[in-house]
């Protein structure tokens, strides 16, 4: 994943507000709190172009912990927030089933990535050409693209979304792990 470039992430004001790190008992307040957390998580991951999130480790670091005010989110609260992100399509649980310990954050939804990938392939005349997933995310041809350095899981989900629309086909060669994709106009 590409490292963050330029300016540091600008935390919202609420990040310095201690109660923000405690799950509010009032349902309406919690919903609003959760919404703000969701926005923050997506914005933070977009800024750092990061997608994987290990919950137990993440709560010790920003944005889930604020050392200045010595507050940190509880893992089970974070789990609830991620559940909401999953509902919105901005995240997906990864790792062993039902553990809910690691997840993928989609700072851009796979369907949106799907559109970007398809447009790029069409513009480059790469439809009906076999491309490896590696060259999409790490190749020199796409070095200037937004999806350069995109993690494999998100890339694959995006291509699967495109496949659902009949605009791409994922397939494997003689080894099962290295996938290829063919875009269709």
């Amino acid at each position: 994943m590409a490292a963050a470039t330029g300016a540091p992430f600008q935390f919202p004001e609420i990040y310095s507000f201690p109660p923000f790190f405690t799950r509010q008992p009032n349902e309406d307040t919690w919903k609003e709190q959760r919404r703000q957390w969701c926005d923050l998580v997506v914005a933070f991951h977009r800024h750092h172009r990061r997608s994987s999130l290990a919950l137990a480790e993440a709560v010790a670091e920003p944005p889930f912990a604020n050392r200045q005010i010595r507050r940190a989110l509880r893992v089970d609260t974070l789990r609830e927030i991620v559940d909401e992100l999953v509902n919105q399509g901005h995240a997906a649980w990864s790792g062993p089933k039902n553990t809910r310990d690691t997840c993928l954050i989609f700072w851009r939804k796979p369907e949106v990535w799907a559109g970007i990938l398809h447009r790029w392939a069409s513009e480059r005349g790469l439809c009906n050409t076999v491309l490896t997933l590696y060259e999409l995310a790490n190749g020199d041809d796409a070095a200037d693209q937004d999806f350069h350095g995109l993690d494999h899981a998100t890339l694959r989900r995006s291509l699967e979304a495109l496949q659902g629309q009949g605009k791409a086909q994922l397939f494997v060669g003689s080894s099962d792990e290295d996938m290829g994709v063919k875009f269709f106009p």
């Binding site: 076999v130 490896t132 629309q165 060669g173 290829g180």
Partner: protein, 210 residues
């Protein structure tokens, strides 16, 4: 339907191309790794030399040299592989072009078979005949008319003349206009009598002086 269709769109050639491209990716990954090793050995050699350990610095440089040779080999292989991939992909395009040409040729042959030259000649002759016939008909129609048509035309001319005359007579006195219907009513009676032709003439002239 779409999913079913797209499944067939991946061919054995695609898989072969994918295999080659995967190999190419692996070579590229290897190069990245080797580049990192190169830089590390280089730094190590400098470090050792600074500490006066010539023997180990030499060893690091040897490793670096070896790594460099491997990189060159990988470069060569990468080039060959890339070339092969491009040749295969271009051949696939050529195959499609050939298929397109064949398809076009087939269609053209079939169309030509459907349009046999005798048929076209016959059709052209028939068309010419039909045109000639049509021209003949037009000629006859414009030159000669049937007696009935002639009568109709003459009647039409008479009607036009009468209308013209009526228009001129509009300025005339009122009385003569009454005489006309009277004359028309009396005419059948006069025809039945058959003998009183002169009388009819007198009667028709009678209102004029009045």
């Amino acid at each position: 339907m779409g999913a079913e269709q797209s499944k067939h769109r991946v061919t054995a050639q695609d898989k072969a191309v994918l295999d080659m491209k995967v190999q190419r990716d692996k070579l590229k990954q290897y190069q990245r790794r080797a580049q990192a090793v190169l830089e590390r050995e280089d730094q190590l050699a400098r470090e050792l030399l600074r500490r006066g350990d010539r023997r180990r610095a030499l060893l690091a440089l040897r490793r670096r040299k070896y790594q460099q040779q491997m990189m060159d080999t990988a470069d060569q292989q990468l080039f060959n592989l890339q070339q092969l991939v491009e040749t295969v992909e271009f051949s696939l395009v050529q195959r499609d072009v050939l298929a397109g040409l064949e398809q076009g040729n087939r269609v053209l042959t079939r169309l030509n078979r459907e349009m046999r030259i005798e048929d076209v000649e016959r059709l052209a002759a028939e068309t010419a005949d039909a045109i000639a016939y049509q021209e003949e008909v037009a000629e006859i129609l414009s030159s000669a008319m049937s007696p009935a048509d002639e009568d109709a035309v003459a009647q039409e001319l008479e009607l036009l003349e009468r209308q013209e005359a009526d228009r001129l007579r509009l300025a005339m006195p009122y009385a003569p206009q009454h005489a006309l219907p009277e004359q028309q009513q009396q005419q059948p009676a006069a025809a039945a009598a058959a003998s009183a032709v002169g009388q009819g003439n007198v009667e028709s002239e009678e209102p004029l002086p009045a």
